[in-house]
């Protein structure tokens, strides 16, 4: 379904994001319900990989915020 060139790029991206860790982790032992939880969560984020800051750019002034409005409801503002 994915072309060979793109697949090679995906492997490369995974090298950057996950340092080459296997996609399907071997920490899925447990009861059957846990199996199904883990397998659907296998595509976790990559925050666990240690990363070095590579560039000192000015921060983005991103003003989106969730606040509690006067009527008590939650609202996006920016």
């Amino acid at each position: 379904m994915i072309g060979i060139k793109t697949l090679l790029g995906i492997i490369r991206t995974e090298a950057v994001e996950f340092g080459g860790q296997l996609e399907v982790p071997d920490r899925m032992d447990g009861a059957i319900e846990s199996y199904h939880s883990a397998k659907r969560n296998a595509r976790h984020g990559y925050e666990g990989t240690e990363r070095k800051p590579t560039e000192n750019r000015a921060p983005i002034r991103h003003t989106l915020e969730l606040i509690r409005a006067e009527d008590g409801t939650l609202k996006w503002v920016e």
Binding site: I2, I11, R12, M28, E33, R43, G45
Partner: protein
């Protein structure tokens, strides 16, 4: 009381078990029974004999008729290795006597049809009538088989090219073991597929090409002379990723061998590793997985997502708003399926995939339904209970969409072997910064960058959603600033949520033909067996609501109400059909939880962009979905429906059912509690029989 119940259950069962026990005289004692050898409390295996067995299924049913009688000790068994057993049953039906029909069964293995108590010549004639399929014949004496007397007739296979070569010479020592394993799997599969799955030979050829390219990259990295420690680390990480890919390939192919090639002739020499299918294997079920997968792959192959993004979207300027808090949707986001014309994704000329690698499909108890770069697994429960909403084959479509979306994210955010950078490149960071900070005053950016920005914007919203406690006053500019490194982390943590929105839209729009109630019922019928929705119900609720709202063009608040009403109706319909869970009550109460609406609004913002720029009537026209199915429209004259369990295969092109349409129709029947018979294992095997018989290449 117990005995009465047991007899009653037997009457509605059309499943039998073919059992072979090895004897001390090196023969096999063959018998049929109404129940599995392991259904009794006392397990006969404690006697220490080798035992193999598989369920087999009465092939010819008639409405309101009981299961035919069967001989517990047959005099012979003819096994037919038909690749299209549904059609083969249709072909031979008029040729069989009533008694012969009663003694005809289908299976989940490569030996897909079997006839009891027929003469060898009659078996040969039937084999010819099925299209000259391979035949194995067991003459039995008092229920005993002398394997030396078994007859095996395999018609010569036409011209087939040799196994594609995969050079081990020059492969790095560290990966040689994987290369050897891949080569061995390829050789075994090539031999088996020549006879049983010739359509899959192209899959093996493409996997060989891919493996060759991975090895080439690995060799190049191994020969690189890194300039410093960082480069050395990057090189090792690259090699790790490449060897991990080889491990994944080797592992997937091993499963393909053990599941797809076992059960071939001679049957007793090729047992299945699945103990409860040990005699005949599950080759037919694996073929059904492949047909289902190839059908969707073929539909999507007409538009290569990476090509559209690189060649069309990178050269097109359509603004996407950065303003989530003021997002309104509108008519540009409304999908009108009835009068659909070409959409953005369809423009830019023909852009087909040209070297795509088909997914290796197999069953896994451990992984359940799951997609990876090269493979696709279905839950093993699907082998025995596909007719339940929890284990329906339809869940596979969600996983196949993950593969499509994997390609989209690679095109939007991925790097390649010529670059060494963070997932968010500096160029993309700068573009996102200008786009967000300057808003409508920002210089126009191309659509590919706009989509990248929208994904990043959504990820920032998810990050802000989790900020606790929620204040009633605005934060300071310093608090809200996002440096480069932080944006990478925000993207990494929240990409799975963005990915799921892409996947759900694709599945909903392409596979379920944007039928909201059916989609919601299918999702939640399945999720009650998954632990994650119990742990994170809000995530699963919001992705459902956003999907149901996509394409409406409604403003966010009415879109939320619209989706909520559909979900509530769907949950009620599930409960009325006997599918219930405490999770449903939790979901209903969460619909009023205060954090759900802002979460929904941000998700709606992103899925609207996905809907607008990745919907494609061109691709959809290649998927014969349930929207064109008379059963979905309420037809109850089941004799007119090709997927009826009382109707057998035809060779007529127009009579073929698409795997999607067939599976959805089956799911609809289950959800309406309208299954024609109550034997779930029989229905499961029948569905696989029909799907495995479709021509989809």
């Amino acid at each position: 009381m117990g005995r009465v119940a047991e007899r009653s259950a037997t009457r509605v069962s059309f499943t039998r078990y073919l059992v072979a026990r090895h004897t001390e005289t090196d023969r096999w004692c063959v018998s049929l029974s109404e129940s599995s050898p392991f259904s009794a409390d006392e397990v006969p295996l404690t006697r220490g004999v080798a035992l193999r067995y598989s369920p087999i299924f009465c092939a010819y049913l008639a409405p309101d008729q009981p299961a035919p009688a069967f001989p517990s000790t047959p005099t012979s068994i003819a096994f037919f290795f038909s690749r299209r057993p549904h059609n083969a049953l249709g072909r031979i039906r008029p040729l069989l006597t009533e008694k012969e029909r009663e003694l005809t069964y289908f299976t989940q293995g490569l030996a897909s049809i079997l006839c009891l108590n027929c003469k060898l010549q009659r078996a040969k004639d039937l084999s010819m009538s099925m299209g000259n399929v391979p035949l194995e014949y067991w003459p039995l004496t008092s229920g005993e088989l002398d394997p030396r007397r078994a007859v095996v007739e395999v018609p010569p296979v036409g011209e087939v090219p040799p196994v594609p070569s995969l050079a081990m010479t020059g492969a790095d020592q560290e990966v040689l073991i994987y290369v050897e394993q891949i080569k061995a799997c390829m050789a075994t599969l090539w031999h088996s597929y020549k006879t049983h799955n010739p359509e899959e030979l192209v899959t093996l050829a493409r996997l060989t090409m891919l493996t060759t390219e991975i090895l080439k990259e690995y060799r190049d990295l191994s020969q690189r002379k890194p300039a410093d420690v960082d480069c050395s680390l990057a090189t090792v990480k690259g090699k790790n990723a490449l060897s991990a890919a080889l491990v994944e390939l080797a592992g997937s192919l091993s499963y393909a061998v053990t599941q797809g090639a076992s059960g071939s002739s001679p049957i007793l020499l090729n047992p299945s590793p699945f103990p409860h299918f040990s005699l005949l294997g599950i080759g037919g079920e694996v073929r059904a997985l492949n047909k289902f997968t190839r059908y969707l792959e073929k539909a999507f192959s007409v538009r290569d997502a990476a090509k559209v993004i690189f060649r069309v979207y990178s050269d097109k300027e359509i603004p996407i708003t950065p303003n989530i808090s003021g997002y309104r949707s509108g008519k540009d986001y409304k999908l009108d399926l009835a009068s659909e014309k070409l959409r953005e994704f369809d423009r830019g000329g023909e852009l087909p995939e040209d070297d795509e690698v088909p997914l290796v499909a197999y069953f896994s108890l451990r992984y359940g339904f799951k997609e990876s770069k090269f493979s696709l697994t279905a839950a093993s429960e699907t082998l025995t209970d596909e007719v339940s909403p929890q284990w329906t084959l339809m869940t596979l479509s969600h996983e196949i969409m993950h593969n499509r979306v994997r390609e989209i994210f690679q095109a939007l955010f991925g790097t390649d072997w010529d670059n060494d950078r963070d997932p968010i490149s500096l160029q993309n960071y700068d573009a996102f910064k200008i786009w967000y900070e300057r808003g409508s005053a920002a210089p126009a950016c191309d659509l590919a960058q706009g989509l990248r920005n929208a994904v990043l914007n959504f990820c920032v919203a998810m990050d802000r959603l989790e900020a606790k406690p929620i204040k009633s006053e605005r934060g300071s500019a310093t608090e809200l600033g996002i440096p480069y490194g932080k944006l990478n982390g925000i993207y990494g943590r929240n990409r799975p949520r963005a990915t799921e929105l892409f996947v759900h839209f694709h599945d909903y729009y392409f596979t379920y033909a944007s039928q909201p109630r059916l989609y919601a019922m299918s999702l939640w019928g399945s999720w009650i067996k998954v632990a994650a929705p119990y742990a994170r119900p809000t995530d699963y609720l919001v992705r459902t609501l956003a999907t149901l709202a996509s394409g409406t063009g409604l403003e966010p608040s009415p879109a939320f109400e619209h989706a909520r009403d559909i979900l509530d109706t769907a949950l009620g319909a599930l409960e009325r059909s006997g599918v219930s869970s405490p999770l449903f009550d939790e979901i209903r109460s969460l619909l009023n939880a205060e954090e759900v609406r802002p979460y929904f609004y941000a998700s709606y913002y992103l899925i609207d962009q996905v809907s607008r720029y990745f919907s494609s009537p061109t691709i959809r026209s290649g998927i014969d979905g349930i929207d064109g199915d008379p059963f979905a429209a309420g037809l109850t004259l089941t004799d007119e429906y090709s997927a009826n369990v009382f109707v057998y295969g035809e060779d007529d092109e127009e009579e073929r059912a698409s795997p999607i349409r067939y599976c959805l129709a089956s799911l609809v029947k289950v959800l309406r509690a309208e299954t024609p018979i109550k034997d779930r294992l029989w229905l499961t095997a029948w569905n696989a029989l029909v799907i495995s018989s479709q021509e989809v290449q």
